[in-house]
Symmetry: C2
Subunit: 427 residues, 2 copies
């Protein structure tokens, strides 16, 4: 570990990109790795919506970074916040501590973003962290609890109205899970309300939901959602969110909906480290603040600084950047590890090339859509593929078994046992 002749790689961020890079550099001769993350766990973000809707517990989709990486003797994990980067000096700072690197991999991802309306944050929580998911879970189940105690019909209706902003995969998956919850899971649980009267609106600014998919699958997803009672509204822009109200615009017509619970699944913005990175490397950024990288995932003129995952803008076809999804981050993570090893051997390495293995989104039980090369699928079989792909990519063996069991149990009983309301200020 302390051998100074080792090539020292600092990886910032333990998401898919950073973790895959670190694993690929693990136990390699002549290399030592320091992985730095603000959290002590890797989070399987694609299943975060399951935590938000009470289907899984945080522990099921988060794995302690130390546990995942402890077999690599050349890897050191630090829970810390990177506060600065100095590219010419090859150092990063963690508050007062300075760490010297030979190669630097930045994989700090993105957080959600309100298009300049930061005041919406408190009324419409997003979904990027475990705490976000628990906040959503709290609001969803709290709303039903309050509705059960409410006798005023208008107030009750507002408590039972959920507005989801953003028709991408997260928004669609949240809407589907809420639909299942209202129609099946909670069916017999209340005495003073009928959960099937729950109103769920999914608002999308563009012409269709799941814009990345072919029209046919997108339409299929729309009709699956409608079957679950979700009111899907495309070309609809949110213009205001205040306590208990959402104002929206569709063409010229405006509408105000009374809704106690608004969930945000729309914009993402690059993490706060991007500013420091731009200053020290002179890298370019795109509209959402993502760092523009070259074909070797490098930034500016620094061949030893790599940016990967959601934080990177990698020009794909013409101006189109690769999307901020897990497969891109994983492949970039592995590629960056190969590049570092190639360069240590004096080779230039190859440019990064993304292999799109397909897109998957789930709407509900037996309902998913899959766009895998020439195969466009929907329904039960797509749902099965979705299940197995997500299980397979969970990092730890016991997470896989636990999540598989939970899903099997939720499937047959339609239960969602993790619907706890925790960390409330007052009840």
């Amino acid at each position: 570990m302390k051998k100074t002749k080792d090539h020292h790689v600092v990886v910032v961020g333990g998401g898919f990109g950073g973790l895959y890079a670190t694993q690929k550099l693990g136990n390699r001769k002549g290399i030592s790795v320091t992985l730095i993350d603000r959290r002590n766990f890797h989070l399987f973000q694609p299943l975060l919506y399951q935590v938000a809707t009470g289907g899984l517990s945080p522990g099921d989709i988060a794995s302690p970074l130390r546990a995942v990486l402890n077999r690599f003797r050349n890897v050191r994990v630090l829970q810390a916040t990177v506060t600065g980067i100095n590219a010419p000096e090859q150092t990063i700072s963690l508050g007062e501590d300075i760490i010297k690197y030979d190669s630097l991999v930045i994989a700090t991802g993105a957080h959600h973003h309100y298009f300049g309306n930061d005041q919406w944050a408190s009324n419409a929580p997003g979904l990027k962290t475990i705490e976000d998911a628990l906040e959503m879970r709290r609001r969803i189940f709290r709303a039903f609890e309050a509705a059960e105690r409410e006798d005023d019909p208008g107030k009750k209706r507002s408590l039972m109205t959920f507005v989801i902003v953003g028709g991408g995969p997260t928004g669609v998956e949240l809407a589907g899970a809420l639909g299942e919850l209202a129609n099946f899971t909670l069916k017999n649980d209340f005495r003073n309300l009928d959960p099937r009267n729950t109103r769920i609106l999914l608002l999308e600014g563009g012409a269709k939901i799941l814009a990345a998919y072919p029209d046919k699958l997108s339409n299929k997803a729309s009709s699956s959602l409608k079957k679950l009672g979700v009111d899907v509204r495309t070309e609809t822009l949110v213009t205001a969110i205040a306590d208990g109200q959402v104002r929206m615009k569709h063409g010229e017509s405006e509408e105000i909906i009374e809704a106690e619970t608004v969930l945000w699944a729309a914009g993402v913005k690059s993490s706060s480290l991007s500013k420091a990175l731009v200053e020290t490397t002179g890298a370019g950024t795109d509209r959402s603040g993502r760092i523009v990288v070259d074909p070797f995932l490098n930034v500016g003129d620094f061949a030893n600084i790599y940016v990967i995952g959601d934080l990177a803008h990698f020009a794909h076809q013409g101006d189109d950047a690769l999307p901020g999804v897990a497969p891109v981050a994983m492949q970039q993570g592995r590629h960056v590890a190969r590049l570092i090893r190639d360069r240590l051997r004096g080779k230039e390495g190859s440019a990064f090339k993304y292999t799109n293995k397909g897109n998957l989104a789930v709407i509900g039980r037996n309902a998913a859509i899959a766009d895998v090369g020439p195969f466009k699928m929907s329904g039960w079989f797509a749902w099965l593929i979705w299940i197995f792909v997500h299980i397979a990519y969970l990092i730890e063996f016991d997470s896989r078994v636990l999540v598989l069991f939970q899903w099997a149990s939720n499937y047959f009983t339609r239960k969602r046992g993790a619907r706890l309301i925790t960390n409330e200020k007052t009840v």
Copy 2:
């Protein structure tokens, strides 16, 4: 539900006492039940220390009350805080709402208590709620993370010192779990510290730990803890807890220990509702504020008000009250349901009698003690009994399977996958 001729039982508290009473009254003709709890879930408190030490997730040991009770059509669940009781009028208040009852069962339990030193609360969190357990988990794993980054030997030692106050079952189980963690789970996880140097102190004011057990088993527990590196100190009183320091007294000698993490497993006090209850019924209380009940679990002169579980002081042998443990609450819960049904039929019913089926405490893998009637056991077999009793009493089938699998996995791999540090203010 709304039939006014039904006998209306209001149960306050969804712990073991309240839940067992409600289940036993479920789907009984002529009875309707309202169960009120501040939380929306039943918590399996005996396993809370597993959440605090990263072995289980909150979802594994908590079950939504609505899900557990939804098959009883005569049961209504309300998530609310009871703010007042009026015994002569037969009403309780939930803020502005007033609810009329025919019979009232109070089962609001106890919370921890610092013997008049409430200023210790922020330095030494207790273990009664999910949030308490997550706070302990955060402090324990945060301390190791900070120690990994600390180079000053004194500071590092203080970060790796854990003081547990109270040698009852909770303190012993916490100490055992911490010992396992330090000696096995974290063994390979750090590069800049050796977890086996962790210092764990268990402080008990009395002459022995696990005072309720025969001396032989108590000594056995002590030696099991010592094998895990726990420094067990009896007849030791804590006199001060401040940031990073614990001051203790053993006979005439005083000692100060530098310890960043102090965990409180000592006193409990009755819940805040007891004051309101005393005022309206004239009931007596004991030293810790528990309500003195008669042989029929009634208080004052009110034959339709019952107090059960940790909140009740039930005179057992002479002045000795029954201990605040789950089996007592379960049996009282079932008994109170029988009493209510008997009285509806014009019978007086029988006085409550506790059947002690035995005591169990666990120290670590393969190490537990069991005091079951004539059988005094320790070691592997006692540990197996402990496992199966705890699995059997988990409320829901899927919790049982999940916990069993988690334990099997933790047993073979010594992992604790749920050791997430969440809800931190800053990192």
